[in-house]
Structures are given as C-alpha cells and as structure tokens.
Amino acid sequence: MGKSSKDKRDSYYRLAKEQGYRARSAYKLLQLDAQFNLFKDVTRVVDLCAAPGSWSQVLSRSLVAKGKDREPNVAQSETNEVQEVQSKPKVKIVALDLQPMTPLPGVITLQADITHPSTLPLVLKHLESDSANVDLVVSDGAPDVTGLHDLDEYIQAQLLLAALNLATCVLRPSGNFVAKIFRGRDVAELYCKLRIFFERVTVAKPRSSRGSSIEAFVVCENYTPPEGFQPSLENPIWTGPTRQEDIAGQIAEVSLDDAPSGRWVAPFVACGDLSEWDSDATYQLPDTDENGVKRVSIDPIQPPTAPPYKTAIEMRRKLGNGGKIN
C-alpha cells in the first residue's frame, strides 16, 4: 500500500507525519494526558520500551515547551526542540529500550534491558538522583504478537509487570504509571496487582487506538506501595520465582486465576474528544487543503525500524528465481 492510500486509511498516521512525530502512537499519550492531566507538575519521567521514540517526543514537547504557544499543526523541527530544552534544564526525560533509538533532543536515551538489575542504577544516575523521585513512568511496550492468544497476553503482561517493577523502584510516592495492556482473559488479574500499588487504576482507550485492537492503557495514579514493600529488580514481584521461598506465593497467585469473574475490574474511560479523528473511520480527504493547496503525501519522519526479516528479503532478491525458493 502506498503512503498516500495509508494517509486516507489512517488519519493518525497522516497527522503524525504532518506534526513531525515518529509514530502515530504519539496521539495515544496525548489523548491520555488530555483525559488524566498526566503531565501536570511533571519534571522527571521515565519512558520504557521507548523506541522509535514517539512517546518521548510527546514528553519532550509537552514538558519542556510548557508555557509557550504551541502550534500543533506545524511540524516542529528538531532544532527548535533543542533550543526549548536548553531553556528548561530542569526537566529530565529518560528513555529506555533494548533496540537502538535515534537520539532525541532533550531526551536521555539509554539502550538497556528494563528487567536487568543493573538498569536501575543507570537510570538513577541519569536522573541525577540517588532516590526514587520520578513523577511519571510510561511504557508503550508490546511483544511480537504470534497469534497464540494466551502466550501473547502472557508476554505482554510480563512486559507490563517488568515495567511495574522498575516503576516501583523509581517512582516517588503519589507518582503515576501508564502502560499498555492487552485486555485478554487474564486482564482482571493485572488490574488487581496494580491496585495494590496505586490508589486509582483506570483502563483507558484513546480514540487514536483502533477499536479492533486488543490494546488499552492502564493509568495508575497516586503510587502508594503497601507498607514495608521493598522494591527490587533483583527479586522482582510477579515475574516468576527468583528464590525457593517465592514458590508458595506464585502458586497461590496462579490458583486465583480460576475465578476471573469474581475479580476486580478497573473502570473504563474512553479518552480523546469525539470531535477528534476516529482511528476506525475511513476519511475522504479533499485533494486540496484549507488554503487550496494541493495535498501531497509527505514521507514519514523516520522510516520504520528495520524489520527482523529485512535480510531475508534481501537474500531472496539475491537468489532470484522470482523470489521463489523451494
């Protein structure tokens, strides 16, 4: 499919290009913020599973450009962002991913595994802090979806719980946590776990997230860990036993799955105004824009990250035979 037909199919894809975002997912965070006012008084934020970096872009633009007139319709060049950042040195945005990420001005990008114990001191170092004082932890991480639903939902839950473990290590009391969640058969179990740490847990679906997609976002507000809780990446919770003594507790957890209906379900909020674009709708775009200028389809800000099968495709081309290998 050409990029111009994708423009019609996906209004947020087009909008992301026009506004200089690396991915359409930027609007999910923007709409979550519009609903929950997530960025209010936020100066320290950690973005997990950040590549290609659209959430970091949103964070950078929203937090460091605060107070200025923002023109959302004009693509901001990266140099502009640098200048703005320099004027607001106190905001710290740390973005982590295992994949390399093109640097973003005003964002500290680290290539690190969020589950690894050594990541915590690394993050704290870059936050220039020795204690947990992060206001907001966000994670838009998703696995390679295989199509085996139970496995996909398990892996996604593990990504979320890994993010939660890191969040418990870095969040200040009453900080917030936002993460992608798959609303599958065991989603209630995750809601219950999150509620132990946060006063308010809401599941939100931004209008920029397609209705046909299983994804939604948990917005966990006001971090209040249970008394005596010791956050640790050495012995993370709910991600499998890390000691013999963890086994009894983990088994008890598993047994709870049997009564999913009896479990607590987070309240749902659809966010994003009805006047905003509908990610499920097909739009008839006029050939010209509001100024009568012929609309041209622009290139994506950053080509998508190289797919894992890129080399395989090149090999097929090299081997010839019309791409047919027996």
């Binding site: 589950t115 139970d150 593990q158 679906k205 499998g240 013999q244 739009y283």
Partner: protein, 1135 residues
C-alpha cells in the same frame, strides 16, 4: 452451560508408538493411526482454562510397548499434570480437571527426570529462563514439591527446550537451550541430581546473530549441534560440542555454522531428524504454511540446503502451523494447524524413492529415428496431440503422420507404433471416450484426418483391441472439411451400454456439429450406427457435449466457447436437427470445458417412467474458473425447458478449470476433484478436503496436453498428464490423487469475525482468512459438519446476515465488498453439502476509498403488493460513516440503491431495521462514538415505494413494495432530520446491538461496548401523525458498567418475541460474551411501567475461544438448543 465441542488451533502433538496424542484446546485426543483408517478413539478434558501446549511420555515407547508404570506429562500456561499412561488410555477412566497442578511460572518446556522410586520427577523450564524440578508426591504440600534453581540470566524467552544429557553418567543432568525475545540463543547445563542447589549457575554459551525473536530451539540427539529459528525467517545451526563439554565460562558465538534461508514468514519450530553419518537433518515449520526438511554435509563449510518442502499444509487458508511431531520411524510427521486441522506427511528417505509425482521426458527420436532429408538436414518430427487412456497409457499423434502408443503399466515404458497415415500429418483432431463392457473399461479413440474422414479404434486396457494399422477403407467420411475437434460424451447410458457418442466439429464457422452414435457391442469392431447434423445456434462454436438417453428419447447438450448451453432432442427420423433451447452466459462468456451428469446414472433412471418430462442434474466446468451444478427440466409435451443453477464453485486454487470429477467408490468416496491450470502449474484440487491433491509446473496451460484419471478400480487414485513442451513429449504420472493427509478436518485458518445461523439451522461463519464457511451441527456429537466454503471475498469478513427465510446470505468485507448468496439446501444436490451461489455483488462507487469497510448489515424481507416475495431491503453501514439502503430483487438478482446518507464522520458498526405495528419503519445505527441513533425512515421508504404493512390474516408487519419495477434513479437522501433520537450509550465502540420485540410497539434493545459495559433499554414507539412516521415515546436505559473484564463483543437473546407480562415472573434471559473469554447468562426483570427492575448474572462460564466475536443459538429450544461461540475457533455449548 456446558462445553460440548470445540474447533480451534492444535497446539501440541506427540506420537505414542504409531498412534497420536493431540492437544486440542483444553482436551487431549487420542487418534489410532495403526489401523488402516485413522480414527479418533477418545477425547478427555485435561485443564480448566489452559490449552495443552506440550505432551511428554515418561519412557519412549518401543515395540514391546510402554512400561506399566509409564506416565504422561501435559502442560499448558502455568499448569501441568502427570497422569498414569494406563489411566489415560482407559477410555472409561475419568480425569478430574480439579487435579491440575499450578506451576509458579509459565512453562515453556518440561521433561521427566529419573523417578524417585515410584514417585515421578519432572523438570520444567519457565519463560524466565529458570529451571524448576517437581517431585510428584501428592501427600506433601505443593510448594515443597518444587525445587528452584538459580537462573544464569533471568530474561524473557519465547522458546526453550530441555534435554536430559545422555553424554554424562548421571541421568539427571539437564541441557537447556533457550531463545529470547531479543534474538539470543542461550545454552546452559544443570545437574539436578544433587541435593544441594548451587548458588550460581553459569551460561555455557550465547549464540548471537538472529535479527529477531527466537521462536524455536533444539539440540541434535548426539548433543553436537543446536538449531534455532526466528522472526528473521532463518534457521541457524550451531556447533555446541565444545560448549557441552566446556566446564566453565560462557562462550559468545557470533557466527552460526550455517544459515537456512527459504521460509517466507516467521518460523515457529525446528527439530532434528536422524541423518546419515556425516550429515545433519532438520525439519522446520513456519507461519508461511510450509514445513521444510534441511540437510547439511558436515565436512567443512557447507550450506544448509532445503531438500523437501511441504507446501500448503492444511486448508491453505490459514496462517499458522502450531505443532509438529515426527513418527518414531522418521518416515513421516504430523502437523497441527491454527485451522484445527491435523495432517500427516511423508518424509522422503532419499531421492531414489518413488515420489507421488513422476516426470519423464519421452525420447521419441529413439522410437522414430528422424528420416534424413536431402541435404543432410533432419526433418523434425514432433508430438502434436495426445489422448490419455486411463492413467497408464496414452496415444500421441506425431506431426509426421505417425501414431504412437505408450504403455506405462510395466516397469519399463513400452512404445508401440500404431500406424502411419500421411493424411494425419499436422493432424487436427483426436478424441477418446471410455466405455464399460463386462465390468472392464475400454477406450474408443477417434482420429480425424485432413479430408474429413474419421478412424475408430478400441483399446482394451493397455492393448489395442482393434488390429493396428488397418487398411485405408476403415476411414469413414464424416464431414467435407478438416475436423477441428472430436469430443466424446462422457456418460455411458445404462439402458444403452453399446452406444458411445462423439461429436466432430470443423474449422468452418456455423457449420453443423456431426454427432455420431458409435456401436461398441463388438469392441474390436466399433462402427457408426447413426449420425446427426446438429445445427448450431448463432455464434455457438461447440466445445463439449453430453448425450443422455431416457425412455427412448435421446437428448444432447452442447457447450460453447462463449459459455452457452444448447439442448437438442435426437430422433431416428431426422438427421439434421435444430436446438430446442439455448441458454447464454451460463459460464459468463468463457469456454465450457466439460459437461457431465451428476451422480450415478442409475439414480437418474427414475425418469424413465414419465418420458414426457425429464429432470436431471448437469455438471459443467468452464474457463470462467467455475464448476457448476444445474438442474434441467425438460418437458417435451409442453416444450418447456428450464435450467436452474444450483451451485457454483470458483476454486481459487484452480483459476482455469478444465474438468471435474466426483469419486464415488470407497474408501475415498465423495471426493470432488477438479483439475486445471493455475499460472504455470497444472493443478489437481480436492474440493471436498479443500486441499491441493497435486500440482506440477508445466509452464502454463496453453499447449497440447491431455489428462486422464485411472480407468480401473486399482488405478483410480492415479492420473496421467501428458503434454508438449519445447517440441518434446512430457509424461507426468500422479500416484496418490485421492490421498487424504488429514486426520482432523480443518476449519477457518484465522479468527472468526462473524457468525450467523439461518432459520434452517445452517451455521455461516466469516473469518479474517477471507473465507465464508457453511456448516451444520451434528445433533449427537455436537461437532460442526462442514457443508461448503467460498473464498470469494478478498478481505477479512466483517458481517454476515441471513435472510429471515434462510434462503439468502448477505456478506460484507473491506473495500466495499457486499455479496448476496443464494443458499440451496435441496437434498438432491447431494448429501452433506449445500448449493452456494454468488447471486449478486453490490456495485461499488467509482471513487472508492481504500479500506472502506462495510462493518454492519441488516436485511428485511420485502413483498410485492400481491404478497409475492420480491426480495430484501438491505442496510449497509460503513467505516466512512456512510449508510446505504438497497433493494435486492431475487428475480433479477440485482441490488438497487434506494437511499443513502451519512451519519457523522465516525465509523458506523451496527444497523438494524425495526417495523412498528402502525407501519413505522425505524432504522437504528451505532458506531465507534458510542451513540445509538434512531432514524425514522418511514417517509423516505414511502418515496421509494416501500411501506410497512400487516399482511392479511396475520398481524405480522412486513415491508411491501408498490411497484416491483424499481428504477435505478438517484437514491433518496438520508438526512439527520430523520433522527428521532441519538443517544450516547457507550463511551466508545458499540460492538454489538440486538433487538427484542416486546408487545405494544415496545423494543428491548441490548448493546455491548468496548467500554466493558452492557446496556439494556426499553423503547416505546408511537405513531407520529404529523409526519406520517414514528417517534420515541419513552426510553429507559440501564447501563451495566464492567459487565465483563474486557470489550463486550457478542450478545444473544434467549427468546425472540416476548410479552412483558409473561416474563415479569421468570424474566427475560440473554447471553453475553467478551474478549475476556467468559460467557454470561443474564436475566432482566421488567416493571409494569417503563422501568427495568433488575439485570442479574445467572451463570458465568469460561470458553476456550479467545477473541470472542459472536454468539448465536441453534435449535428450536429445550434440550437440543445449543450456543455457538465464534472467535479464534468455535465452541458449542449446551445450555
């Protein structure tokens, strides 16, 4: 509610001797394969909620059978269980699902360890690269049965396999190989026999270079090599010898021994096969629906070469193979698909083995040495025309005038010169017919020469029955010019077995077809007993004939190059005959390639009594890409001739259909095989199984060729394809055309998006795999029985809706696809199937938007004022917020758009029509903005000539059309001023909307949303006298927030028409389901006024179908009522 049957992904397979254990959903199935006919012996539910992801037997079974204390280990997710093999195999032994054992983390793989006396021990590898052991001593507390070992590196895995190291003395040494989500392959060892848990465990090696997640890992039986497969479409082979013996330190390996390229999608698994000394062999399976066998020579740097590819496993409609098991003999393997199919495949031991397809290029110069022409140049002789006589012999006519016969029935090919006739140089016509005498088949070959003469020869099996090279006088003058073609009627009439009919056509346009009745009573001396000149209708170049005798009358059907049928009645008096009737465009405007009679001719002989009227079933194939069944009525008294299309199949796998054959003999009875061409390939397609039977790359069908199935009982599974390529004769022998590799029938290859059940109990399912399937429900086993399927949509299905009568089905997809299907359930077509005709396509607007989805449909019956069935009012809502209303005319088979408009700009998902007793026509729409909008379209419909009226003698309201001649003028506009109510109900997408009729023009509306809520509304309508329409008098809504844990996607009312009074006591029940995989039964209590007293959950159960999209009820009520749940698979529940 209780689960009764399930179709869905097959997640695990394991051989038990020659037999097979299958993990299918929550159930374990046992297939006996050692018998001649594979059969399902039993099925037992193992887990409460987990699919069986793995099966292990405690001791590999040898010929002497398993040990008496053998156990079976089954796991899925965070559950497992250990069951005595003897108990499991005992069909009467009841497995309690409550006895499943929870594990502390997700199990990726598990193996038995040496038992501790009688107590079984196992080791398991979790998704966090951690090994735990478990001692199955049920008397002690669960947590204490586990032993945890430290992980060398706690990371998230996609795959892991544990092996008991056979290279060391202690038998509880484990070798673990793991594939991470980040493309690493990790190897480590663990000794689990010691009492003490080591403080630290080191990785032995880390194998890098995969460019994506690693989905499968394995180690060779001699612990020398490891293989991994990945998202990056490669298989990588690693030398692990050094790492297995290496005592400490982790080796980092960045270069694999070899890389296997060739899969075109993600690769899910790899396994090692036994190999000759000096080789390794691997089998892999992938998302591209293939399995591949790979081989590599170990002497130096050699490539990993793919030696065998198994293409189009299962239904070819799916996307994934989830499981594979190799038979202990390693001669075959089985695969389990996302489509629920299980199939068995043969591994070629070596290239010398007789393959299922054998290709030979005939060396004709050896048989006919080229004569030397003057000047030393040889005259090139080349094969011109073929007739295949069964599967083991054929005749070829050479350009020189030689006729050769080839006998393939013996170990070595035998060629025979049949004769030499200079007048058949550049021969233009040859054909063959088959006839039976005394239980054996013979072939009659007719040869045409350049002067219009025809020679007849009979072949008895592989030998000529007529003397070869007969004298010239045996050539009979048939026409005055060179014949273009000779084709036979492939129907031997039971009451006239001595006659074979053949037609001779010429190159001169509009000249009569010479139809010959050839007497074959004496096989050696066939003679032309009678001949007729059939006068062709205008533009009717004939391509196929069929002669049918009944009650002393002889009818001849002819098919033309332009897709037309003509009917002739042959009499003994006239020799020049005009057609009785012609039907044009039967196969669009494309050549008819074959004509046949459906079923055994004996079944048709019931017509013999009433000679004046005949009814028969005709089959035909055409270049249009279809094979079709027609019912033909012939009444010679009234001179009425009628052709009714009953079924049409366009097998996508064979776009150029040449012929169709239904096999009726056991054990493969009922298979419908179609053959023809697809691109470069000659394809044999088994329509019954939905599988390719065989294919051969012949570089396209535009060449001289012939094909025949085997003529006898013992060769009926064979086929012979002969053709010319580059002036050479190619012989392709197919051996196992009727081979059925399937042990379990496949269903949809991807998730079911929509499911609807007709009033006649036919279950229609539409899936992301673009296929519509029709199934029936077996009353006893509760299994879905496949009836037919169509792969006509080019995109995933969005919605399916039946006509109220069950005779028509409307389907919608993306790119504006809306089709109307006529469903013929007439038993006469044949048992176990239904006719499914694509009657009409809704015309697409010229300026089409890409990805414009038609998300919702509704259809209401429309009658003429006389009360005849005119057709339907079809409502369509689309992703660009547009609404189209069209009338579907069942006589004209045509949609006419009568009204259209837009809601807003948001995507619409639902549409429902509702008719009130006073003639109001309501339309409800709902979409992603969470609003339900009520449109009063009474006036608009009146303008279009449609009104809602009670039919005489009943108070049922139906739509009535004033003038059945609907003109395709400019459609009426649907306007927002027709909204009588637009109410926000959900926060975002309304995934489902259902209506109940209550009495007194009251509607009970149920909606389910992405916001996890269900709404129940009572809506009272009343007449709007000013606007001659309808209005909402009162609406009461009760919102059940968090009705499910996830999006509510399906609702099904348990009863249809209701009176408030009747149900005040017992309430009104409905069912709901959601992506959370729960089905809930609810009870609504209504008050006398307008209020809803309560809505309570009555029942709540788990279903094993993820991504539930739809619910529908089947059965009239009471005991035989079943709930069908559609999603990733289909589950049938008893209420």
């Amino acid at each position: 509610m209780k689960s009764r049957s399930y179709v869905g992904p097959v997640t695990s397979l394991a051989f038990f001797g020659d037999d097979l254990l299958v993990g299918h959903g929550l159930e374990l199935k046992f297939f006996m394969l050692s018998n001649s006919q594979p059969s399902l012996q039993w099925r037992k539910r193992i887990f409460k909620r987990e699919r069986i992801q793995g099966i292990q037997l405690s001791s590999p079974t040898q010929n002497e059978g398993p040990a008496s204390n053998a156990n079976v280990l089954l796991w899925g997710g965070k559950r497992f269980r250990i069951i005595h093999l003897a108990d499991l195999m005992d069909p009467s032994f009841n497995i309690k699902i409550e006895d499943e054992i929870p594990a502390p983390d997700w199990i990726l793989h598990s193996v038995f360890l040496e038992p501790d006396g009688d107590v079984p021990r196992i080791a398991m590898m979790t998704a966090h690269n951690t090994i735990l052991t478990y001692r199955h001593e049920q008397s002690i507390e669960l947590a204490s049965r586990y032993r945890w070992y430290p992980s060398p590196e706690r990371c998230l895995l996609y795959s892991a396999t544990l092996f008991r190291d056979s290279t060391t003395q202690t038998t509880n040494d484990l070798v673990a190989i793991a594939g991470t989500v980040f493309g690493e392959v990790l190897l480590w060892k663990l000794d689990t026999s010691q009492d003490k848990v080591p403080e630290k465990v080191e990785l032995s090696a880390r194998y890098l270079s995969h460019e994506g997640s690693v989905f499968g890992v394995s180690i060779s039986p001699d612990f020398s090599y490891a293989a991994s497969c990945s998202d990056d479409r490669t298989i990588r082979l690693w030398n692990i010898k050094a790492d297995i013996v290496g005592l400490e330190g982790c080796r980092e390996v960045k270069e694999p021994l070899a890389i296997g390229w060739g899969h075109q999608a993600r690769i899910w698994g790899v396994k090692f096969l036994q190999a000759e000394e000096g080789y390794v062999r691997i089998i892999s399976f992938s998302e591209d629906l293939t399995a591949k066998v790979w081989s590599m020579r170990l002497d130096g740097p050699n490539p990993l070469i793919c030696t065998q590819t198994f293409k189009n496993l299962h239904s070819a409609s799916g996307k994934n193979i989830w499981s594979l098991a190799i038979h202990p003999s390693e001669r075959h393997f089985v695969t389990g698909g996302a489509d629920g199919g299980i199939a068995s495949w043969k591994i070629l031991e070596d290239v010398r083995e007789t393959p299922a397809i054998k290709e030979t290029i005939a060396n004709l110069e050896e048989i006919l040495p080229p004569p030397q022409a003057s000047g030393g140049k040889s005259i090139k002789d080349e094969p011109r025309k073929y007739v295949a006589l069964g599967s083991r012999s054929f005749i070829v006519a050479m350009s020189s005038g030689w006729l050769l016969h080839c006998n393939l029935s013996k170990p070595s090919t035998e060629w025979q010169k049949v004769g030499f006739w200079p007048q058949i140089k550049n021969l233009s016509a040859m054909g063959a017919g088959r006839f039976e005498t005394d239980g054996t088949y013979n072939h009659l070959v007719a040869l045409g020469d350049n002067t219009g003469k025809v020679l007849l020869q009979t072949w008895h099996r592989y030998l000529p029955a007529t003397p070869t090279n007969p004298p010239d006088q045996d050539w009979i003058q048939i026409c005055d010019t060179r014949p273009s073609d000779i084709f036979f009627s492939h129907c031997q009439n039971k009451n006239d077995t001595h006659s074979v009919y053949a037609a001779v056509t010429t190159f001169k346009p509009d000249t009569p077809i010479q139809l010959l009745r050839i007497n074959v009573e004496t096989a050696e001396k066939p003679f032309i007993a009678q001949s007729w000149s059939l006068i062709p209708p205008e533009t009717f170049p004939s391509t196929a004939i069929l002669v049918y005798t009944c009650g002393g009358r002889v009818f001849c059907f002819a098919g033309s190059r332009h897709g037309a049928f003509a009917l002739y009645s042959l009499t003994s008096d006239d020799t020049s005959i005009k057609s009785l009737k012609i039907w044009r465009h039967v196969h669009d405007d494309e050549s008819i390639t074959s004509l046949g009679l459906k079923g055994d001719p004996s079944q048709i002989d019931v017509n013999t009594g009433a000679a004046s009227s005949v009814e028969l079933l005709l089959t035909s194939t055409g270049r249009s890409g279809a094979y079709k069944f027609h019912k033909v009525f012939i009444n010679t008294n009234t001179q009425e001739y009628e052709l009714v299309e009953l079924n049409a199949v366009y097998p996508a796998a064979v776009p150029r259909v040449e012929n169709y054959r239904k096999f009726t003999t056991s054990p493969n009875g009922g298979y419908e095989i179609i053959y023809g061409f697809r691109g470069r390939d000659f394809v044999l397609w088994n329509q019954t199984l939905g599988l390719e039977a065989a294919s051969y790359d012949c570089e396209g069908g535009n060449r001289s060729w012939d094909f025949s199935f085997g003529a006898d009982e013992d060769t009926q599974s064979e086929g012979l394809f002969v053709f010319t390529k580059s002036k050479r004769c190619y012989i392709v022998e197919f051996k196992q055309i009727l081979h059925n590799p399937l042990l379990q029938t496949p269903f949809h290859g991807r998730e079911v998006k929509t499911l609807a059940i007709s009033s006649q109990g036919i279950i229609a399912t539409g899936a992301e795999d673009t296929i519509i399937r029709l199934s029936s429900l077996d009353q006893e086993t509760n299994q879905l029985l496949p009836l037919t399927f169509r792969k006509t949509h080019t995109t995933g299905l969005q919605d399916l809706v039946w006509s109220p009568c069950g005779g028509w089905l409307f389907s919608s997809g993306s790119v504006e696809e809306v089709y109307c299907w006529k469903i013929n359930t007439e038993a006469k077509i044949q048992s176990g199937t239904v006719g499914m005709l694509q009657e009409a396509v809704y015309e697409v607007s010229t300026e089409s938007l890409p990805d414009l989805r038609v998300c919702g449909l509704d259809a209401a019956a429309v009658y003429t004022e006389k009360g005849d069935h005119y057709g339907f009012l079809v409502g369509m809502v689309r992703s660009d917020s547009s609404i189209k209303l069209a009338l579907y005319d069942i006589a004209e088979k045509k949609f006419t758009t009568i009204a259209e408009g837009h809601y807003k700009t948001s995507c619409l998902l639902q549409i429902r029509f509702h008719l009130t007793t006073y003639g109001g026509i309501l339309m409800l729409t709902a979409g992603t903005d969470g609003h339900v909008t009520f449109w009063d379209i009474t006036q608009t419909m009146v303008v279009c000539g449609v009104s809602a009226k009670s039919s005489t003698g009943s108070n049922l309201v139906a739509l009535s059309l004033k003038d059945p001649q609907v003109s395709a003028s400019v459609p009426e506009k649907l306007r927002t001023d027709q909204w009588i109510l637009s109410q926000p109900v959900h926060q975002n997408s309304i995934k489902v909307l259902e209506l109940y009729n209550l009495e007194g023009d009251e509607i009970l509306m149920l909606t389910g949303g992405d916001d996890t809520a269900i709404s129940v509304s009572r809506i009272k309508c009343k007449e709007n006298p000013e606007k001659m329409g309808t209005m909402i008098n009162e609406i009461t809504t009760k919102l059940l927030a968090r009705a499910h844990a996830s999006a509510v996607t399906a609702l099904a009312p348990l009863s249809s028409t209701l009176s408030v009074v009747d149900h005040k006591e017992q309430g009104i029940e409905f069912l709901s389901s959601s992506v959370d995989q729960q089905v809930k039964r609810w009870c609504i209590k209504l008050n006398d006024g307008t209020a809803i007293e309560s809505v309570e959950v009555v029942e709540d159960i788990y279903v094993s179908v993820p991504d539930v999209s739809s619910l529908a009820l089947i059965g009239t009520g009471g005991k035989d009522r079943r709930l069908v749940v559609g999603g990733v698979g289909v589950e049938v529940l008893e209420l």
